[in-house]
């Protein structure tokens, strides 16, 4: 690879890191602060990506489309719809034991994937949607498009990061943290726990939906295959746990480190002969799974995680 190739790979890499960074930030609100166990990240990611893709592509005869919405409006709708799905999931489960939310989120993510897989009239089923328009394409020379998109992504991530940093320090954010650390205590202080949990769930899902839209417009192609639990959900979890749940900075750094490892192992598996590709892929996932368990055993607070704010010093 020449220098230009490395630079363009680096730009592409960083755009994907930014997408995962957003997913990880969204999960951090849910899990890092409020201890909401969402293992359906891929579902919210998919809702955002499909919504924005369907709303912006020109009309096609055999699937939904032809709304010709401007990019920004489609992104907003994508985030809202993703948040709405979270609201529907939160209603039956947030009052119950925490594990129910886990199983409900994995259920909705799988149902969403099955839906897009089977209902070809919505989004071409397994063939997926291609030719998703790139925003402000006419204003940027083709050679620099990816760099421009990267700058746009960095601005988006920075804005959301700063907003979240502010939110975390606000009374609202501190209430979330209190709920995450000791729900009973928060309840006893008179906080409407279910309502705060719902807000965290919906806000996190909206950021995930936004990440989906930004991903779709960059890659220009989405199919149900993109939203499988492994790359859509599990990887995000490893990023957040490795980076340190409860820290927005950790969420972003975790995305960078883990996507880096994931990409390097991908380059390595591409070098092995084709006949061994499945085996190499399996070893790659095994390595990630082992890494997760080692982090949970050795450094449960993550690489950049912090101590508890409210209940530190207490046992248990």
């Amino acid at each position: 690879m020449d220098v230009g190739g490395i630079v363009s790979y680096g730009v592409f890499f960083l755009v994907i890191v930014s997408v995962y960074g957003l997913l990880s930030l969204g999960l951090n609100i849910q899990w890092g602060f409020t201890r909401l166990f969402n293992i359906g990240v891929a579902g919210f990611f998919a809702v955002g990506a499909y919504t924005s893709a369907i709303l912006t592509t020109p009309p096609v005869s055999d699937r939904l489309g032809g709304f010709d919405m401007p990019f920004v409006a489609a992104m907003v709708v994508a985030a809202l719809l993703s948040g709405f799905v979270a609201l529907l999931i939160g209603m039956p489960t947030l009052r119950l034991k925490e594990d129910y939310l886990a199983i409900a989120t994995i259920g909705i993510a799988e149902t969403i994937r099955l839906f897009f897989n089977n209902e070809a009239w919505v989004a071409h089923g397994v063939r997926g949607i291609s030719g998703i328009p790139r925003p402000f394409q006419d204003h940027v020379p083709g050679a620099y498009y990816n760099v421009a998109y990267l700058i746009f992504m960095i601005v988006m991530v920075t804005l959301i990061f700063m907003a979240l940093q502010k939110a975390v320090k606000s009374p609202w954010g501190r209430t979330l943290k209190a709920i995450g650390e000791d729900e009973m205590l928060a309840q006893a202080m008179g906080k409407n726990v279910v309502r705060f949990k719902m807000e965290a769930l919906v806000l996190g899902a909206m950021i995930m939906g936004l990440a989906g839209a930004l991903y779709a417009h960059f890659i220009q192609f989405i199919s149900p295959e993109v939203f499988v639990p492994l790359s859509g959900t599990f990887l995000v979890w490893v990023m957040l746990i490795a980076g340190g749940s409860g820290s927005n900075k950790g969420a972003l750094l975790g995305a960078l480190v883990i996507w880096g490892l994931w990409s390097i192992t991908d380059l390595i598996t591409n070098l092995v002969p084709v006949g061994y590709a499945v085996k190499a892929g399996a070893i790659r996932v095994i390595a990630i799974a082992v890494a997760l368990e080692v982090i949970l055993l050795m450094r449960p607070q993550g690489l950049f995680g912090k101590e508890k704010t409210f209940t530190s010093g207490r046992k248990g």
């Binding site: 594990d99 129910y100 199983i103 799988e110 599990f234 892929g281 949970l296 055993l297």
Partner: protein, 286 residues
């Protein structure tokens, strides 16, 4: 319709076997074990390995159960035991990692292709008017009934079985009255995994073996456990049958691809209407 019902009972038996283990582990070890489905796959593939070594089928299944229990207990001792203090959700995350680990070890060793215990083709025969089942499907239902009866006797008649039910009901109280909870934990894994592996082998007999076979069963398993009330083995049996029948009968109305979504929908309805499960009366799990 009677045919779909019969198919549902066959599938429901398999789900019930997995769900009993899931609900016992949930009730006694206090965490949703997301590796349960993949443990079913592991057992099914181990049985395939032993059948390949020309062992008689039942002996191969027995050995697969034994090896799977050892694997599960080792994971409990050297992973879960250290994480348990951090709370049930961290355990749950760890079990998702274990699930991924097991599935990819299977993929690494056996590859992605569909495997069968036997190449022999069986023809469906009429067992009732309008109901045709293959001989091994009848065997699955009978074997599941025997296993469930054995679990029932174990839980009701043996001392350790009673201790397990006490722990599932109230762990602190059980500890106070001097029940050896370490032994209960061991037995919980043993019984849960033995049933799961039996169910996994039956699924392999019915549909063939794929690395993702158990993972894809996870949603129906949880749905059955929640439907029956978490920690209630009898509830899980009934829940498994209900989910199995609902999934198969739904195939008469919607695309078969939506079977997991049917289990999910039932689960959400139960959570909305009766979160303690159909058979859970006394306590709400909050």
């Amino acid at each position: 319709m009677p045919q779909l019902l019969a198919n549902g009972i066959v599938f429901g038996c398999i789900i019930a076997l997995g769900a009993i283990g899931l609900t016992l582990i949930y009730g006694i070890l206090r965490f949703g074990n997301f590796a349960h489905g993949d443990t079913m796959s592991l057992g099914a593939y181990l049985a395939l390995l032993f059948v390949g070594l020309r062992m008689p089928f039942l002996a191969a299944v027995g050995l697969a159960i034994g090896v799977s229990i050892v694997v599960a207990v080792l994971i409990d001792r050297y992973l879960y035991a250290y994480i348990r203090r951090a709370g049930p959700i961290i355990l749950l995350i760890a079990s998702v990692g274990v699930a991924l680990f097991l599935r990819n070890v299977i993929l690494l060793i056996w590859g992605p292709d569909l495997e069968y215990y036997s190449r022999e083709i069986q023809f469906a025969v009429h067992i009732l008017p309008g109901v045709r089942l293959k001989p091994y499907e009848v065997f699955i239902v009978l074997a599941a009934a025997v296993l469930i009866l054995l679990v029932h006797l174990f839980l009701k008649k043996t001392k350790i079985g009673k201790a397990m039910r006490a722990c599932a009901d109230n762990l602190d109280l059980a500890e106070v009255v001097g029940i050896d909870t370490r032994r209960v934990v061991l037995w919980t894994w043993a019984v849960g995994i033995a049933l799961a592996v039996s169910g996994g082998v039956m699924l392999g007999v019915e549909n063939g073996l794929r690395p993702a076979m158990g993972w894809e069963l996870l949603l129906p398993l949880f749905a059955a456990a929640i439907l029956g009330g978490i920690g209630k083995p009898y509830g899980a049996m009934a829940g498994g049958l209900v989910i199995g029948i609902a999934q198969e009968v739904s195939a008469g109305y919607v695309s078969t691809a939506y079977k997991p979504a049917v289990a999910f929908a039932i689960m959400i309805i139960v959570l909305l209407v009766r979160p303690q499960g159909i058979f859970g009366g006394r306590r709400r799990w909050m």
